[in-house]
């Protein structure tokens, strides 16, 4: 099966049915391994056991941006190549991205209270991530507000690409402004500054959450394709009823 074959929703559904059980199993195994390694990780000399919040906060924060990146590529697919699955991919990813962003905000807040002495601070990193969360909600609302999927797709794609400007702002906010949030310690020039005892569990959890996203995304895309089939069949049903009423009246 080539990449172009995946443009066909029926072939995509067939592929999804085959890979989803394997992806689900791989996600469960990696999540279990990540949680086990997180439990084994030592306390930090400054933060104590609260460092364990990092193993769930950081993967969620990374994915909050990664999912918007995926949606931005899908938006290009909608606007430039008019790929039939591009809008399906973007629309299905949005609620999952919103959930990851929500979790990044809440776990960050719960980590911030004991470490910074506050749940929230209107600094550049926290505020830009909150804006990302609100943009996810806005996009979801847009898709729900417009009945015709093709019209909603174009508007959502434009909004997604405009919103992508926020991604570098989030990433570099800790370098461009003075913030309470710490600077990058994993994805940075010169390599990670984290000790291996924290880095390995963090990377395993990051891969596990990424697989979780891929699994949930494929399943949500399958649902969206089925929802669009339901819609087109309902429209066929409605047109048949209208036609039979007109014949009956004549």
């Amino acid at each position: 099966m080539t990449l172009i074959d995946l443009a066909n929703p029926t072939r995509f559904l067939s592929l999804t049915a085959r890979v989803l059980p394997w992806l689900t199993a791989a996600t469960a195994i990696l999540l279990a391994a990540g949680l086990y390694l997180s439990a084994l990780a030592p306390d930090d000399y400054q933060q104590g056991a609260t460092v364990k919040i990092m193993f769930i906060h950081v993967p969620n924060a990374w994915l909050s941006m990664f999912v918007w990146g995926v949606m931005s590529i899908a938006a290009l697919g909608t606007l430039v190549w008019r790929h039939p699955l591009a809008d399906v991919a973007a629309k299905s990813a949005a609620p999952i991205g919103a959930a990851f962003t929500f979790l990044a905000l809440v776990t960050g807040s719960l980590w911030g209270r004991p470490m910074w002495g506050t749940y929230w601070e209107w600094d550049a990193r926290l505020t830009s991530v909150l804006i990302l969360f609100l943009m996810y909600l806005g996009l979801i609302a847009l898709w729900r507000a417009v009945d015709d999927p093709s019209r909603a797709a174009r508007a959502a794609a434009v909004l997604t690409l405009v919103g992508a400007i926020n991604l570098p702002i989030i990433k570099f906010s800790v370098d461009w402004w003075n913030t309470l949030h710490q600077g990058a310690s994993v994805i940075r020039m010169g390599g990670p500054t984290l000790d291996r005892s924290f880095l390995i569990p963090l990377l395993v959890m990051a891969v596990a959450f990424s697989l979780l996203f891929v699994t949930l995304h494929l399943a949500a895309m399958r649902n969206e394709i089925l929802r669009r089939r339901v819609r087109s069949l309902q429209m066929m049903q409605a047109s048949r009823v209208t036609l039979s009423n007109e014949v009956g009246a004549a």
Binding site: D43, A49, T50, I56, I96, A99, L103, R222, N223, R227
Partner: protein, 61 residues
């Protein structure tokens, strides 16, 4: 192995519990949505509405 979560245990356990709850909600939502769409397609097919291709709308394999 670290067994004690120290004075901030409630912050740590709440974080992990919240992540577990939200991920479970996502999984349940997607599973319920799948069943709902399949049931709607079955109902439509049962009422005689079929796809132009003639293939079953619920047949995804």
């Amino acid at each position: 192995m670290t067994t004690s979560l120290g004075p901030y245990a409630s912050f740590i356990t709440t974080s992990y519990a919240l992540v577990a709850i939200v991920v479970l909600l996502l999984i349940v939502w997607i599973a319920v949505d799948y069943r709902t769409q399949k049931a709607r397609l079955r109902d439509l097919e049962a009422s005689g509405i079929t796809r132009r291709s003639g293939r079953g709308a619920t047949d995804i394999r």
